[in-house]
Symmetry: C2
Subunit: 285 residues, 2 copies
């Protein structure tokens, strides 16, 4: 394990611990949520995800010497949104996946109805969590909710999933594919950085630079995913089917260079945020 | 049409107009949400619902002589949550309903995948709408988001739906059935009143009285629904199957009396809020 891997892993475990503790609250006597529902929500939160988004948020917080608790709830809220989207994405009416990260998908374990509700509940819980930890600074809390809604809703992630459905019928152009990926995964990655910067009291300029870095990183992340899928033989709806393997690798390089450029405009860019770009370019999972 | 019907109808149209205008914004050039998704969201928002919850909110606002725009967005946000829950509830993996209010359900028109996303998007949009209209008073906005989350999430509506699923396997006792209904429909009705009172700057005492009124009214609403369903021959999982027709009518009366008692403790209780109790007891749809 190289040093960046270890650094990512350390922060991912911090996020895990926070999520475990948060969901333990759900099992106190006062709490009325049905046990099976909570179990199903927790199941998908702990199936060995990379915690890519939360780790990004923590790195931004560290860059600003922020107290961990100022960033961790934001990081966790983003992960709840991401997890809800995976549960719904795996459902039979969507991608109909039986496994995710080698484990049975939520609906395979708990049934479709409970999986649907677990996703619904995780979305609500993301906003609830923001309220719990940020409402003392109500203006910040509102900014975080507003930005998370934009990134997760019809103008963002959910919109991207809808475009993705349409792309199954009509193959998208390169511009359309970029737009799908921007909405479906890019905006949540971008907002993860923006929200962490906001919670850290970053300047407007920094916010914009991190926003553009996030947008490029999100796209690079998706392109790398497509390349990995292509190695497994799946080239559907992907950059590889439009650009070929070499063209896609070129686009990955271009996008990664762009991400670096934005980051390098920051005074003292965070070294791990920089390294993440190469890490993504070369990753094997 | 008696006078209360007309009063309800008038306010329901105000809510309709607001929702139409809000979703028109989604079709501007700047807006990136896919047209089909927005169409599917709008479809379910405009299938002739009674707008029971939003009307309750408006009545509370009028009681406090509040500007309509101080209450209407809250009323609309609750309706978005209610509508998302109906879309998901109708899906094949849940109740598998082909029709709602005489019209084809969302997934019958747009397919399961789009219906799933429309529900997801409506939930996000509810919080987004609160941000848009209340974030200038950030403390109020946070309170509204927090309460809506509690009412809609695993401790509320979604939790009630999960309990409802379990009740299909093990028939619930009367206490359990009351708990299911409280979570599944009661808490959203209750929070509708609470949120409107908060946005109106009501006192803590008023808030509590409206909360209890809302809780009783919500239960009465559900009991009346069960009685109407029983007339159609459906007595599954209902108060009627546990208490019989006469016992259920008695419970409806008891609960309605309780709702009146709470409301009558208010100085100058709103006459329409009072009339609604009898209206619900005698309604035919």
């Amino acid at each position: 394990m190289n040093s960046l891997d270890a650094e990512i892993e350390k922060r991912a475990r911090t996020v895990d611990d926070f999520l475990v503790r948060h969901f333990e609250l759900f099992s106190t006597v006062d709490f009325l949520a049905p046990r099976l529902l909570v179990e199903s929500m927790s199941y998908s939160l702990h199936t060995g995800g990379k915690r890519f988004r939360p780790v990004l948020a923590l790195l931004v917080g560290e860059h600003y010497n922020q107290d961990l608790l100022q960033i961790l709830p934001w990081a966790a809220a983003v992960e709840l949104i991401h997890t809800y989207s995976l549960i719904h994405d795996d459902l039979p009416c969507m991608d109909n996946d039986d496994f995710r990260r080698g484990k049975p998908t939520n609906h395979k374990v708990y049934g479709e109805a409970t999986a649907l509700l677990a996703g619904d509940g995780l979305q609500t819980e993301a906003f609830q969590l923001l309220m719990k930890y940020y409402s003392q600074d109500a203006a910040l809390a509102c900014q975080l909710v507003e930005r998370l809604c934009t990134a997760a809703g019809p103008q963002g992630m959910v919109g991207g999933q809808a475009l993705d459905l349409q792309a199954e019928k009509v193959p998208p152009s390169l511009a359309e594919l970029k737009q799908i990926q921007k909405l479906k995964t890019g905006m949540l990655i971008r907002v993860t950085l923006e929200g962490a910067a906001l919670a850290s009291g970053a300047s407007k300029t920094t916010l914009w630079l991190l926003r553009y870095y996030g947008e490029a990183l999100g796209l690079a992340f998706q392109i790398a995913d497509d390349l990995l899928d292509a190695e497994q033989g799946d080239q559907s709806k992907s950059f590889v089917s439009l650009l070929g393997l070499d063209g896609t690798k070129e686009l990955l390089l271009e996008t990664s260079v762009k991400a670096k450029e934005f980051l390098n405009k920051l005074t003292q860019p965070n070294v791990f945020l920089l390294q993440l770009i190469d890490y993504n370019m070369n990753r094997k999972v």
